[in-house]
Structures are given as C-alpha cells and as structure tokens.
Amino acid sequence: MGQSTGEKIERLVEKLRGNKGSGQQSRLRKLKPGESIIEMRGITKRFPGVLANDHIDFDLKACEIHALLGENGAGKTTLMNILYGLYRPDEGSILVQGEPVIIRSPKDAIELGLGMVHQHFMLIPVMSVTENIVLGLKSAREPLLDIGRAEKRIAELSEMHKLKVDPRAKIEQLSMGERQRVEILKALYRDARVLILDEPTSVLTPQETEDFFKTLRSMVNQGFTIVFITHKLPEVMEISHRVTVLRRGKVVARSDTKLTNPSELSKMMVGREVAINIEKQKPEEGKVALEVKNLSAMGDKGLLALKNISFSIHEGEILGVAGVSGNGQRELAEVLTGMRKASEGKVYIFGRDMTNLSPKKIIEQGVGDIPEDRSGTGLILGFSVAENLVLETRSMSPFSYRWFLPFAKRYFLDRNEIHKNAERLIQEYEIMTPSVDAPARNLSGGNLQRLILAKVLSRNPKLLVAAQPTSGLDVAATEFIQRKLIEQRERGVAILLISEDLNEIMTLSDRIAVMYEGKIIGIIPASKAQIQEIGLMMTGVK
C-alpha cells in the first residue's frame, strides 16, 4: 500500500513537473488556467475538544488566487496545514489533478509542487537569506555547500518575481516584509507551483501590501496558483478570483469574488451582521495617571530606540500611539511595564516615580499590560487557561491563603477559587477552550488575546498599556476587544493604545501621538486629526 502510494506520488510529481529534467519552465505548460489542480473532499480534523475541520470541500483551479476567508479559529490554517502535510486528516481525501494522493509530510507536499508561507516565519535569524533558502536541500557539490550558485539562482528568482531582497543579508537585519519575501523565495526555489500564504498581509505596511499584491498578480500571470488565507475583507475583494468562506470548521460559502460583496461575505463569515461602530462619551478630565519625562532607552541591538520622549495621560483618556512598527513603540511599552530599563528620563505613575522598577512593583501600582508578543510575554502556553488567568493575582486573595503558617505572605494556592475564577472569566470574555484545565497552547489566536484581556482586566488596572491589541484578530474578536477598551476608559482607566491600525487609533483615541524613529513627532487631539496628516507624520514628515 505504502509503495503504491509512493509510486502514485512519483507519477504525479512527474505530471506536475512536466518532462523530467528538461529545465524549470517545462512544467508551466501542463497547467492550463481554470483546470482543477487540487481538490480536498470531506476533510475532517478533530483536536482534543475541538472539531477544527468538519467535512470541508475545497478546490483549487490553476492560475487563480483563491481566498480562504474566516475568523480566527474557523479552521483555515488547519485545512491548509493538512494540504501541506503538517497534519493528517481524520477523514476525507485529497486529489491532485484528479488522482488521489496521500500527503504525509511537507516533503511530500513540496514534491507535489506546493509551497506554504506560514503566518509565523520559519527562518533562522542569524543565518543569511541564501543559507535559509537552501536549508535542507541537497547541494550540487555535496558534501560541500554551493552558496555561490544558490545566490545566483535566488537573485534570478527575486528579479523575475520582483521580490527584492539581498541574498547575503542576515534574516535578523530584515524587515517583516523582506522576511516574507524570503519565505516566498524559499518556496519558489523548491519549484513550488501552488503557494499557500497564511495571513500574508498581517506583517506588511499598507505600502508594502500594495507592492505585494502586484507581485501576486504577476505570479498568477506566469502560471502560479495562490491560496490566500485571510480574515480581511477588502483584501479578498481586491486580490482574489474566488473565495471560500469558513465558519467554525465548515464551509459556509464558495463563490466567484465578482459575484459577491463585502457585507454579504462578512455576514457569512461571522454568522451575523457586524458593524464596528463604537460610541464614546466625552472624556472627563481626570488626574494625571501616567507622566513620562524625557525618556530614552536602548533597543535590543544596543542602539537608542527611544529618544527623549515626554507625554502624559489622564484618567479616563485613551492616548493612541500611531506609527509604523519598529519605531520605538515596543520599547516604550516595555519601559513602562518594567521589562526594559530606561537609560534616561523618568516615568511617574499616579505621581510616583516608577522609573526602572520591577514588573512586580509596577503591577502593584495598578498597571495592566496587553503585550504585543502574546504567546511569549502575555501568557505561558504550557500553563492551563485557569493558571494563566491568575498569573498576576496568584498571591492575592482569594487565589491563595495562609493556612496556619504565622507569616504575612500567602503561601498556598486555592485550586477551587482559581477554577471558579476561570469559569467566570471564560463566560465573560467568551473564551473558546475545551476546558479551564486545557493548556493555553491549544487556543487559537483570538482566544489567546481574550485570555490576556481577561487576565489583565480582571484585576481592575488603573493604567492600561495595550500594544497591537487587535492585530491579526478577526472582526468579532477585534470588536470585542475594542469595546472592552472603551469600557475601561469609561471606568476611568487611563489607556496607552499602541497600534499600527490607523482606523483603530482614530476610532478609539482621545489624543494621538505619532512615533517615528524613537521620537514623538507630535500629539494631536483625535477630533482634529486627519488620517492623511497622521500618515505623513508616520513617515517622519511633521
């Protein structure tokens, strides 16, 4: 059985590749536009407690851009991971050009001509672009590497597809957009004909997105086929030829993009009509919650990342920080929460000098943080949902108790209270999890963020730092989180909202600060802000 499948795959590889050994381009002729190349039938995949894919049918035609639309946790990535051989389906079959195949591993998928660019890049930061691309491949001069030849070929590919990147640069020196190009080149270098892109625009600036779409269009014209996983409707409308909508593991719609419209798609994706329409009360002028004076700090590379920053936030006010990521926003949040040392300047929280104190002291002062890095900084993935929810309150009542030991500290955890707390917060924050004891690792992106929100807000912070709170989240989760932030503001919480999403900044903020190269270019009241003006300031124009 194994052997016959192996042979089948071999045959299909040949089929996909055209005449064996007669150069790279020969495979193109085989795929006529519109011809069905991949069909997934009745794919079902269960994870503990979750039905990720429920009898999904999906088909892909040659030379199309097929959008796979759905909310976080709808099963888009799972489906594509199955196609790419990372998971095995519990039920269902996959046909490539009408012939059933079994894809056991990414290796099989690559041999079939599939390439996948994951949402989180699989690159080694300290190695060069070329080294990353040839990783795992046989060199022409085994056992020696043939970096020179590889570099040439990468340069060719990058020229041909307008994926500009320096083959000799180290990955850690590259922007997210460039890293994405490296991932695509990696797939192309392995002769991929079908590219699966998982949320590709989530790491791109609007300008980069535009260029990226141009590249995709030209690739399709050259005979490539693209699966575009996204939850952003405008992108679906702009770039895709066909769209498949998933909701809760099921296909809810399949259509030519031309024959549908955003509101219809949105309704199908979410299951109800949503209109993000957030109303805010006028801010009441409260006390100064946070005051930052002439703050400077070093970045990870030992260069000055924050340069002489000053601002203040009042209670009941949201200060939005706009800017292209990498201009000091992350460092600012880290200094405020005690995760990074300031080299100069002062941070006053409710009038107290909190500069360079430990995260513990800052938490005790009533500061809550929703960090940009959710899975590494915001949560402990190996901990259960219940355990994560008490990360900052574990040594407080009622989650711990003294027993009869005559000390001032609370030493013992109260499992019952921790459980009750989790049950309550799961309800309140609509966190989808198999149980409160399930490790956080099992949760999808949107649910992880809800978990962080529940963890932080449940201890009633007085000052909240939120960095990219909705990036990568679907409509429902985004709306939920934005409403929660507004709710906090009305409670009198001072909020520092760092976001790359200008619409979010414009909707939520009372005042907007724009950061560029570690400096605050200007602070303007949101009521007077123009999106174009802020856009210009983000690029350093005052």
Partner: protein
C-alpha cells in the same frame, strides 16, 4: 481519559523494546538471555534481604532524582548532584563524628542540616554565576563534581583516614547518629521514609503553593513570568537551594544509613543516575517514585547476574538502563508528535 492512558503506555512499550535490544545483545555476546533475566529477577526479589536492598538504593536515587527535577522545573540544569552528594556526605560525617554523647533526637537533625548546607554550598558557585552574571550552569555544575570527588578522596586517604584501616576510609560515626533499621537483619533504614516524605513535599510545593506556581512559570515561560511579576533570580536561588540540599541529603543518607563512615568512591554515580530517573519519571515528583524503584531493581538484579554462571558483566545492566530511558523517551516523543498530527 484516553490521553491519560496514552501517558503511561510508553512505559510497557519502552520496556519491551529495551528488553529486546538487551536480549539481542546478550545473545550476540553468547549468553542465554532467559537465564540472565531469570537471574536478574531472582536476584532482586529472591529473598527478603535482596528485596530490602532494592529500597536501600531507592533512598539516595530518589533524592538525587528530586534534586535534578526541582531545578529542572525552573529551567536550571543541575548536573552537579554527584558532587553535592559527596560534599553533603562529607559534612554529614564531619558533623556526626563530633556528636558522640548527644541523643539521636538532637544529633540526627543537626547532621541532616549540615549535609543540606554542604550540598547547597557546593552549588553556590554555579548558582551565583547564573543569577549575577547569567553564566550557563551546566559546565560549572559538572566540573564541580570532579572537584568534590577528588577533595573527598584526598581527605579519606589522608587527613581524616582511619589510621587502623587497610583501605581509604574513616572511623565509624557514633552509634547514636546511625539511622534506625526498619526490618531486622537487613540494611533497610528509615532514610527511605524520609526520601518518600521529601518526594511528597516537593509534589506539594510544586502543585499546591504559590512558590511552586512561580517555579513552574519561570521554567515554562521565563519572559511571561517576569512580565507577570515573578522574580527570576529569587526563584532560581530557591530551586538551587532545594536542589543542592536534596543532593546533599542523599549523601547524608548513605553515611548515616548504610556505610556509617566515609569511604572512597562510596557513590556509584547516584548523582548522575538521578538525572536519568528524573527523565524516566517524567520530571514528576510522584513519577520518580516508581522510576527509582525500577531503576534500583535493575541495579540489584544486575549484581546477581554477575554472580550467575556464566557471569554477565554488571555493565550490561547499565546498557539496559540506558536503552530503557532512551526507548521510553523516544516512544513518548513519538506518541506526542502523532497525537498532534
């Protein structure tokens, strides 16, 4: 329910794989594997004395396994349990030999404290280097093993050697400090109960206390732990103290419970074997109980294999132990990967 079952299935599978490899190796060496295994089992369970010997060995093995495990939980890799065990034993001997007239109720706790402190002292240098200068602990802990063993060797061949002894060993410690024997005519002493109690205590700390939560948080997500207000240095120091201390206690158990004196090379690598046992017991303070008992069965049984005809070299048991740990871990990993697919 299914996951629970799958958690333990790796043990029988691993054991079968290990025994097959072991038997094949014996066959290739010209031994009869069935007879050898029979000797192994008879050797370990054949008489009350032999069965009791299993548990004599369990005590130090369990303690060194706990020593590795508790530090491992906070991502501190203490490979120096062997050295800490030697120093703990040395401190126990030195303290005990000063306590001639004291009643046991006073002297034994003091000796226990001395050995705990000795173990901690031997881990202090790697611990301080790690916390203050962020120097990786692996190399310092390993190197200090050799230092400790050589120091003890020098002492028992010179300064504290019993002048009447023919081999490098010290005088016996006073009778009052000997750990009481639980079953007459065996060497099974109360240290075993003490070790079990400590395993349970470590379990309580890890699962039921804020400290245990913090330790696990530092191990599983150091950055998130820091962000949540958990102090890395404080928790590393605490696990370091517990780890070094437990290894020191393992040395004390051997001096007070079994040898009643210091003798050159008294530990057959308890410190290193503790690492393997911790892995075999899934780094779980309750899991290391059966793991250390099983390990000990192989050690005791292996000795009788060596006395069987034809004698199977004791090293073969070490091969079996190593293959066993590897096959259980590989099967576990294999099952996890398969479950995730």
């Amino acid at each position: 329910m299914k996951a629970r079952f799958e958690k333990y299935i790796s043990y029988p599978i691993g054991l079968i794989i290990a025994l097959s490899i072991f038997s094949a190796t014996l066959l290739a060496m010209g031994f009869n594997p069935i007879l050898s295994l029979e000797a192994l089992i008879k050797g370990s369970f054949g008489t009350v004395f032999r069965a009791s010997e299993i548990f004599v060995k369990v005590a130090p093995l369990l303690l060194t396994a706990l020593a590795f495990l508790i530090a491992f939980k906070a991502r501190f890799l203490n490979f120096g349990a062997e050295g800490q065990l030697y120093i703990g034993a040395l401190c126990a001997y030195l303290a005990a030999s000063q306590m001639g007239g004291l009643p046991s109720i006073l002297s034994v706790p003091l000796v226990v404290l001395a050995s705990f402190a000795g173990g901690v002292a031997w881990l202090a240098i790697p611990l301080v280097l790690k916390v203050k200068l962020a120097i990786n602990e692996i190399f310092p802990t390993i190197v200090l093993n050799f230092t400790a063993i050589l120091l003890v060797n020098w002492l028992v061949t010179g300064p504290i050697m019993d002048p009447n002894a023919l081999i490098p060993q010290t005088r016996a410690i006073p009778r009052e400090t000997w750990l009481p024997i639980m079953i007459p005519k065996t060497r099974l002493h109360v240290g075993l109960i003490f070790a079990f109690f400590l395993a349970f205590l470590i379990y309580l700390i890890l699962q039921k206390t804020v400290l245990g939560y913090d330790i696990r948080a530092v191990g599983l997500g150091p950055r998130a732990a820091k962000h949540g207000g958990i102090d890395f240095s404080r928790n590393t120091i605490i696990v370091g103290i517990l780890s070094g201390g437990l290894a020191g206690l393992a040395g004390m158990i051997e001096v007070l419970g079994v040898n009643h004196l210091m003798i050159m090379g008294f530990s057959p690598g308890f410190g290193y074997q503790g690492i393997a046992i911790a892995a075999l017991g899934r780094f779980d303070p309750i899991g290391v109980l059966p793991a250390s008992i099983f390990w000990s069965i192989l050690l005791i049984g292996g000795r009788s294999m060596e006395r069987a005809t034809p004698p199977v070299p004791i090293h073969m048991i070490h091969v079996l132990q190593a293959v066993l740990v590897l096959s259980v871990l590989i099967v576990q990993e294999f099952l996890t990967v398969r479950r995730q697919k």
